[in-house]
């Protein structure tokens, strides 16, 4: 799979926002995405994980053209979206669809489900002949687990899970090759979330669509994704196959993230009721003034002088997969982990 040309390729992508000075806040430029390279191949699901403010949603918005990149490239099917003539760009935009976290905000409340789906065909004429519209709407609704009679209803008449199905149906209406899911299941209740995750997998199996799945939920990403990239403060700090990231994470941030994520097994604590999780101190620094060198160093227990002076590149080290850390390495296994094992035990 790695040999074939990627469907989507981000190459050193930079996206900045200009901030006007406000009360108690200086103005300036925020590099929300500070040089990100990433590929998604046909039929593949790539997970992009990170915490709020890491730039993952800005990547989504840049890919679908809602924000202009200020540096680097977005290539789709080998073509640079930044230099394509308008007409071709429009054609290509159809191939990339975005599904948001909150379908209530992205679905016009005054339009029926049928109208919402048909709108896509108005924007991209020639895709589905008008006389087929009603049939297609029906087929799409059934495809995403809704019923044909839902076509005449309005978004508020649906539950959260059903609204997310509508968003997916609308994305599918233009037969995209890539769907960018930005926290698409994060607002859903557990029981409903599983339904939507299963639907996404089913659609991929049947239609061969690729996903860039952006989420803060590590459990969901592990479940769904083939490859994973971990972001911190505008940069990818580690990337690899699902096994690489979850079985042998080498970046301290990935390690902290994984150990902090609660799981169903967490009731098995040690006698002191502790879980041996890595608890990072402090908060994510402001992207307005990222730390010099490694951006993670201010919260890192392995940081040394070199981390302050020199930014680590995202390259394969002895880890078998790319890691942006000067001192990558495995954690000692939990059984042998005492405070002296290198884990920060205190806050």
């Amino acid at each position: 799979m790695a040999e074939a040309e990627p469907l989507l390729e981000l190459s050193d992508l930079v996206t900045s926002y200009r901030l006007r000075p406000g009360i108690g806040r200086p103005g300036g430029e925020v590099r929300a995405v500070a040089g990100v390279s990433l590929t998604v191949h046909a039929g593949e699901t790539v997970g992009l994980v990170g915490e709020s403010g890491c730039g993952k949603s800005t990547i989504a918005r840049t890919i679908v053209g809602l924000v202009r990149p200020s540096g680097g490239k977005v290539l789709f099917d080998g073509r640079d979206l930044g230099t394509l003539p308008a007409k071709e760009l429009r054609r290509l935009r159809r191939d990339i669809q975005l599904v948001f976290q909150d379908p209530y905000a992205s679905l016009n409340p005054r339009m029926t489900v049928a109208a919402l789906i048909k709108e896509a065909w108005r924007i991209h004429p020639g895709l589905v002949p008008r006389e087929r519209w009603d049939d297609e709407v029906r087929a799409l609704l059934e495809r995403v687990g809704l019923r044909a009679e839902h076509a005449g209803r309005y978004p508020h008449q649906f539950s959260g899970g059903q609204r997310q199905r509508i968003s997916i149906a609308r994305a599918l209406a233009v037969r995209p090759r890539l769907i960018v899911c930005d926290e698409a299941v994060s607002a859903l209740d557990v029981s409903v979330r599983a339904q939507i995750l299963n639907l996404l997998q089913e659609l991929q199996r049947d239609l061969g669509v690729s996903y860039l799945f952006i989420s803060h939920d590590l459990g969901v990403v592990r479940h769904l994704c083939d490859r994973v990239a971990v972001m911190y403060l505008g940069k990818i700090v580690e990337t690899g196959s699902k096994e690489d990231i979850y079985r042998s994470p080498a970046h301290p941030y990935t390690q902290a993230l994984l150990s902090a994520a609660p799981s169903l097994d967490d009731w098995r604590a040690d006698e002191d009721g502790e879980h041996g999780e890595i608890v990072l101190t402090g908060d994510v620094p402001s992207p307005l003034r990222p730390p010099t060198g490694c951006r993670f160093r201010t919260r890192c227990w392995r940081a040394q002088d070199r981390c302050r002076d020199e930014e680590p590149a995202l390259v394969e080290r002895d880890t078998g997969h790319p890691v942006a850390c000067h001192f990558p390495g495995a954690l000692p296994p939990p059984a042998t982990t005492a405070p002296e094992g290198g884990r920060p035990m205190k806050e």
Binding site: R193, H223, V279
Partner: protein, 337 residues
């Protein structure tokens, strides 16, 4: 030691018995909470888990005497440290809130006054409730902020809430909730708005404070992972009712209600990566159209005729272990597998 135990169990910090809460709607009363019973002891964390509309937050508000305007307690008993609190006046409640029972919320910004410094707001608690002087109150506020892990506490007293990150704001809320040494803390989705790494910090802080103060805690959450990490016992709510209770180990190892079992299987299993998720079909019922019999029966793979007609009452399966399912034993035997 045995005597001490007996004493503790004699008066739990909190007892809730057969609680019912109703909302008035144009279509008539709507029962949002029904037949809810539980206890919380010293140093113990009870998690109330459920999805949206399960009644978990209404239950929490009721315990604080903060029943929503259009709602009322339609039955049952709530006792804090042995004292019945249903029907207390506002004035009587004010003497309890903060002093005996406190609460923290998902969104600390909504509970903090944006125009006052954090130090002032914490110090105010000591001035109003403890008659402390200005300097004394300020000193205690700084002490408390340091205790909840706010770095540079002395200096940060003079910052307004918006200058704090989400995690730090939640620490401020915890400081305020614990300022007057209450015995009980209700934490309503305390980490839901926070990032994973900050969530881990807050859960650890809550655990530390709980041990230090021997607090009884109620954790309201929709997140089964957070509950597994933070709770001793669990009550699972569905459609206004507790469908299962037990220790975390009991409930997570051998769920005794099909809804709990369904929830466990809908979450990616760390022990079985990539296994297909088993979604619970359908969605939680609208309380106005609660199904007859067991409210879960339309979504339940174990349902039989009796489930469509008879609403099962919670049934004891062991010490402080209960399930409101006609076929609890069958569910346990089925296992998470």
């Amino acid at each position: 030691m045995p005597d001490e135990r007996a004493n503790e169990s004699a008066t739990p910090l909190l007892e809730v018995e057969d609680l019912a809460v109703e909302f008035d709607t144009p279509a008539g009363p709507l029962r949002a909470v029904r037949g809810v019973s539980f206890e919380v002891g010293e140093c113990e964390t009870l998690a109330i888990v459920g999805e949206s509309g399960s009644g978990k937050s209404v239950t929490a508000q009721t315990l604080m005497g903060l029943v929503p305007l259009s709602a009322r307690i339609a039955g049952g008993r709530v006792a804090i440290e042995g004292r019945d609190v249903v029907g207390l006046s506002d004035r009587e409640w004010q003497a309890l809130r903060g002093e005996r029972i406190s609460m923290i919320f998902q969104d600390p910004l909504s509970a903090l006054n944006p125009s006052l410094t954090v130090g002032y707001q914490i110090a105010e608690m000591f001035r109003r409730h403890r008659g402390a002087g200005r300097a004394e109150a300020r000193r205690r506020a700084a002490e408390l902020m340091a205790q909840v892990g706010i770095p540079d506490a002395e200096r940060r007293l003079d910052d307004h809430p918006h200058r704090f990150s989400g995690g730090m704001r939640q620490r401020v809320m915890i400081a305020m909730a614990l300022a007057l040494d209450p015995r009980l803390l209700i934490a309503d989705e305390p980490t839901t708005a926070l990032d994973v790494t900050v969530q881990a910090q807050i859960l650890r802080l809550l655990r530390q404070r709980q041990r230090a103060e021997r607090l009884g805690m109620i954790l309201i959450s929709h997140d089964l992972g957070v509950v597994a990490r933070a709770a001793d016992r669990v009550a699972v709510m569905y459609a206004g009712r507790i469908v299962e209770t037990g220790t975390v180990a009991e409930v997570y190892e051998r769920p005794a209600h099909p809804y709990t079992l369904g929830l466990m299987r809908a979450v990616p299993d760390p022990r079985d990566i990539g296994a297909p998720l088993e979604a619970i079909e359908g969605r939680p019922p609208d309380l106005a159209a609660r199904p007859a019999g067991c409210a879960f029966h339309p979504r339940c793979p174990f349902a039989r005729d009796v489930c469509r007609t008879d609403d099962p009452a919670p049934r004891e399966l062991g010490l402080r272990r209960a399930s409101a399912c006609h076929f609890a034993e069958e569910v346990i035997a089925h296992g998470r597998g």
